[in-house]
């Protein structure tokens, strides 16, 4: 005997139950993950705004008893905040702009033109993504410490130049599409251009526009999603980068990320003898972290919606 078919009502209620269960599962997962992501930030805020002494107090768990700006004041003076903020802003913005120009041009070249060594060259781009900067850090450092372009400067009698502490160390690689994770930026631009229709460029060509004109006047204005994605990523990567900036900036004026890293190392090396107690150090580190993180967070807040939409339309898949 065949099984009786499920009644319509039963089928519907079963579906509704599955939907409810799925919704509940999603809710739990989302709340859990969001908690994991927000919790540290909240914790930093709490540690930064409360009086350092109350960190010892076991009765203070989340809500600070005594508010104090002491940690922020100390962090600002320790980081030399005003100057290093402006320096970081300048470096990140300039590097982002240069990366945008160079990587979009390179991506366009890969997406639209045929040339003999294209496949090998694109393999090199992938290699650029894969080779970690730490592998070559010694030679990169020495490269800039004794900077010379193929012996030309030495031949001119100027000799190798010491580029350490100069913004050139950051900006020159960015200009030549070799900055931080530039391979990924080239890749994003290439995929985006590959996804665009060719008709507009052909029309421009017929109207007598050269290849560079087409790239600058037709393609770039149309690539807002790729530009937004790459700029947000690149700006944040440069802003947060402590690897290169710690290596290249050894003097007084440092980008924020490098300042924060050396502050942390100084405190780690010197827990007891320094001018600050352990609680004060923790408060200062929390405040300093917030001071470093807040500018990109504000930027992110402003472009958040556009950024999310851009990512969805960048078409990394091609």
């Amino acid at each position: 005997m065949a099984k009786p078919a499920k009644s319509e009502a039963l089928y519907r209620s079963e579906k509704a139950a599955i939907k409810l269960a799925g919704g509940l599962f999603r809710l739990m997962l989302v709340v859990g993950v969001c908690y994991l992501l927000i919790f540290p930030l909240l914790y930093l805020i709490v540690s930064a705004v409360q009086e350092p002494e109350s960190m010892k107090d076991a009765t203070v768990v989340w809500v600070p008893k005594v508010l104090s700006t002491q940690s922020f004041a100390n962090a600002i003076s320790e980081l030399n905040y005003g100057k290093s903020f402006l320096f970081s802003l300048f470096l990140s913005a300039a590097a982002t702009l240069l990366t945008l120009i160079s990587c979009s041009a390179v991506g366009y070249g890969f997406a639209r033109f045929q040339f003999a060594e294209k496949k090998i060259a694109f393999f090199l781009v992938i290699l650029l993504i894969i080779v970690p900067p730490q592998t070559t850090m010694m030679s990169t450092y020495l490269n800039f410490r004794f900077f010379d372009i193929g012996g030309i400067l030495a031949a001119l009698g100027i000799g190798p130049i010491n580029m350490i502490d100069s913004p050139v160390t950051i900006l020159l690689p960015a200009m030549l599409a070799s900055g931080i994770r530039a391979g990924l930026s080239i890749f994003i631009f290439r995929q985006f251009f590959l996804g665009q229709p060719k008709e507009l460029e052909e029309a421009a060509k017929i109207d007598g526009c050269g290849v560079f004109g087409t790239y600058a006047k037709i393609m770039m204005p149309l690539s807002a999603p790729a530009i937004i994605t790459v700029s947000v990523f690149t700006f944040v990567w440069y802003w947060n980068d402590s690897f290169y900036s710690e290596m290249f900036f050894t003097g007084e004026l440092k980008p924020l990320a490098a300042g924060l890293a050396s502050l942390r190392e100084a405190f780690l090396a010197d827990v007891t003898n320094s001018n600050f107690t352990a609680q004060e150090q923790r408060g200062i580190l929390a405040a300093a972290s917030l001071l470093c993180v807040i500018p990109p967070l504000i930027l992110y807040g402003i472009v958040q919606r556009k950024f999310a939409e851009s990512i969805e339309r960048t078409g990394i898949v091609g």
Partner: protein, 300 residues
């Protein structure tokens, strides 16, 4: 032919234009990637001494490699523990981020808010801030009665009992405990991966899902028969990115050892370590790409 012939053929013109666009990359690659890479390779077989006004290298053969493999007891251990950690952490990060991407790709109340929060790690991903956060969180867990072991917080003493009573083997329990203890760090690593997966999910044509809905497919079937095969190229990219991300991470012990060697000006040894590590990762990436491309051929 009466018309004056141009200096370059049409094809030649196209090549020239293409090379003009790619030129910055060629110069940059030569100066900032290839030269340092070759120099590093040379350093591995040299004794490098930094001196005033330059640095000096003297050839010592495979002495650096001999030192890091046979004399230094930490290096091989760090190397293999780094790779071993990667073997389970990379899949976990990828699975978590594909699930989260799938979730924020559906419409539900508060989606914009959740999406904004999930991208926060992309923005705050500074090595230093994460280190400070970990330090602080560890300290707070200690204050609030949590158990801190080896710099890691263990929230999961209850979980162990439950798993024991469920009759699981000790290896399995260990795995789950490590997994749950590492969850905090792993979730913080999912930022860029979610972004990439989300872009991939958006590019799958909705008509495929419409067709499968008419055929009466369930969500599971949708996921395994449409989403996964369509996402295969993205999964490959993301896997490679994640491996590289773990490789260069500042909490990675093997990488740390390289940095320490550099700070002590032992450039030759550091180069040998960095290079061995890079080769190992290269082999890993090649193997992963091979397996994944086989898989995608089978199912795609």
């Amino acid at each position: 032919m009466k018309k004056k012939k141009s200096f370059l053929s049409l094809k030649g013109k196209e090549s020239a234009a293409g090379r003009m666009f790619v030129l910055p990359f060629y110069v940059g690659f030569l100066l900032f990637s290839l030269t340092p890479l070759v120099k590093t390779l040379i350093m591995t077989v040299n004794d490098v001494k930094v001196e005033y006004g330059g640095y000096n290298m003297s050839y010592i053969g495979l002495e650096n490699f001999n030192y890091i493999y046979n004399v230094d007891t930490d290096f091989l251990y760090n190397l293999f523990s780094a790779v071993g950690n990667m073997l389970w952490q990379v899949p976990v990060v990828l699975i978590v981020s594909i699930i989260l991407a799938q979730i924020i790709n559906t419409r539900f109340f508060g989606r914009t808010f959740v999406r904004a929060i999930l991208f926060v790690p992309v923005i705050v991903m500074t090595g230093t801030v994460v280190l400070i956060i970990q330090n602080d969180v560890v300290a707070s867990a200690a204050l609030n009665g949590g158990i801190v072991a080896g710099g890691q917080i263990e929230y999961t003493t209850g979980l162990e009992d439950v798993l024991l009573q469920a009759g699981l083997g000790s290896k399995v329990i260990d795995f789950f405990i490590t997994l749950t203890n590492g969850m905090f760090n792993l979730i913080w690593k999912t930022g860029v991966q979610i972004v990439i997966f989300l872009a991939g999910l958006q590019s799958i044509s909705p008509t495929l899902y419409e067709a499968s809905a008419i055929e009466g497919a369930t969500q599971w079937e949708n996921f395994f028969k449409i989403t996964l095969p369509m996402m295969m190229p993205i999964i490959v990219i993301n896997t490679v990115f994640t491996i590289v991300d773990f490789f260069t991470d500042s909490t990675n012990e093997a990488m740390n050892q390289v940095m320490v060697a550099v700070k002590n000006l032992l450039f030759g040894r550091a180069a040998a370590m960095a290079f061995s590590y890079f080769v190992l990762i290269g082999i890993m990436i090649a193997a992963v790409m091979f397996i994944l491309s086989k898989l995608s051929k089978k199912y795609g």
